[in-house]
């Protein structure tokens, strides 16, 4: 895989990556390193100007109402920050534990939008469900990389994930149980495929 850069002894390659961390890890240390590279880094408490965002973008993310909303909440401001950065020329976007505050629909739209633009996404999260959004996972505990690889391989390591305090994503856990009962013969990573195969 083509290497993008190294951040605090972690190699980031040219593949969209989830950085799954436990609470012993301070991801802000990585944030200090990211600024040396020409990438977009999005954190929770940044400010952005909604007037910079093209109306078509607000419309496609169902955020037009924010233009005239008198009291914007923290979540509204987070959405504005993300949208304000979406047309940046940088090839890499880093989200530092922000997607977890957003509704699933907005989250998926952001990811899909960036994927369509061929951007590389690096998402720092403690939410195992977000591990399904991108192809590659790096698991960090106590400042050490515990394992990394493509999500299908990492999500098979149930014992290691549980020892670190993570559950499996809901759909993986469910398909694990269904596999045990002989109702399916593999793991699934999205609802539609599992429902379709169960009741074909």
């Amino acid at each position: 895989m083509e290497k993008l850069f190294q951040i605090n002894n972690k190699d980031f390659n040219k593949v969209s990556t989830t950085v799954l961390y436990t609470s012993s890890y301070n991801y802000l240390d990585d944030a200090k390193e990211f600024i040396h590279h020409n990438i977009v880094v999005i954190t929770k408490d940044q400010n952005a100007n909604i007037n910079n965002i093209p109306e078509y973008l607000l419309k496609s993310f169902n955020c037009l109402e924010l233009l005239n909303k008198p009291n914007l909440t923290r979540i509204d401001n987070l959405k504005i920050t993300i949208l304000d950065n979406l047309n940046n020329k940088s090839d890499v976007y880093v989200f530092l534990n922000v997607l977890t505050y957003l509704d699933n629909e907005f989250k998926k739209r952001v990811i899909n939008y960036l994927k369509e633009q061929n951007k590389i996404i690096i998402n720092y999260t403690e939410d195992i469900e977000e591990a399904l959004l991108l192809n590659y996972i790096i698991v960090i505990h106590d400042n050490k990389i515990i394992m990394e690889g493509y999500k299908e391989d990492i999500l098979k390591e149930e014992k290691i994930l549980k020892k670190l305090g993570f559950n499996l994503p809901f759909i993986v856990e469910l398909s694990n149980g269904l596999k045990y009962y002989g109702l399916v013969n593999k793991l699934y990573y999205d609802n539609e495929s599992l429902v379709s195969d169960l009741w074909n």
Partner: protein, 201 residues
């Protein structure tokens, strides 16, 4: 400004909605800043600090530590200890579950239950993740700019207004296929229900 309706004491409430939390009521303690200056001892600044730390499953070793020497889970426990020492009746936790693993979330849920039952605290947990509060909250409060609605914890109607958890999205998908299955909160219960459904067919 929203006014939280009179709440039954010693209960846990889930609080959801696209709002910012603030209050002028001195009986409420809002916990939404998960850092502190100086050492834990200086932050807690109370002769009962060790007892409070014990309550949140920490020992006195962490008293001499600063924020950058503690894990996020330890920081949140220390902040929880501070709320106990505050003697406020109502505690509001703002997105408390972020940055915690599932195992840590379960530990904190047990702590919240103890705070409510053993220490008579009334707890409001503000979150966008209903699965964090489903098991422990007696009621779910959904707040919009001009309305407050209260739901019993087993009332699934609140799901029309919030981000649906994955298990509900899955069950909704099954419904679109014409499959007759109830709503479940627990994946293990859903698994059994799917097994029974398949057996029937």
């Amino acid at each position: 400004m929203q006014i939280i309706p009179k709440l039954e004491k010693s209960n846990i409430y889930g609080l959801m909605g696209n709002i910012d939390i603030n209050t002028n009521n001195n009986n409420y303690f809002i916990i939404d800043d998960y850092k502190f200056k100086d050492t834990a001892q200086e932050y807690l600044n109370n002769p009962k600090a060790i007892a409070a730390l014990k309550m949140v499953l920490l020992n006195e070793d962490c008293l001499t530590k600063k924020v950058n020497e503690l894990s996020l889970s330890e920081i949140k426990r220390i902040i929880l200890a501070k709320t106990l020492l505050s003697n406020k009746e109502y505690l509001i936790f703002n997105y408390f579950e972020k940055d915690l693993t599932n195992k840590e979330k379960e530990e904190f849920k047990r702590l919240f239950k103890r705070l409510a039952t053993d220490y008579n605290k009334t707890i409001l947990i503000f979150t966008n993740d209903i699965t964090f509060i489903w098991e422990i909250a007696s009621y779910l409060i959904y707040v919009e700019e001009n309305s407050i609605n209260i739901y019993n914890k087993n009332d699934f109607n609140i799901l029309n207004y919030i981000t649906k958890p994955n298990i509900i999205e899955f069950i909704d998908l099954m419904h679109t296929k014409g499959l007759d299955i109830a709503y479940y909160k627990n994946p293990a219960d859903l698994l059994k229900a799917i097994y029974r459904l398949k057996e029937k067919k």
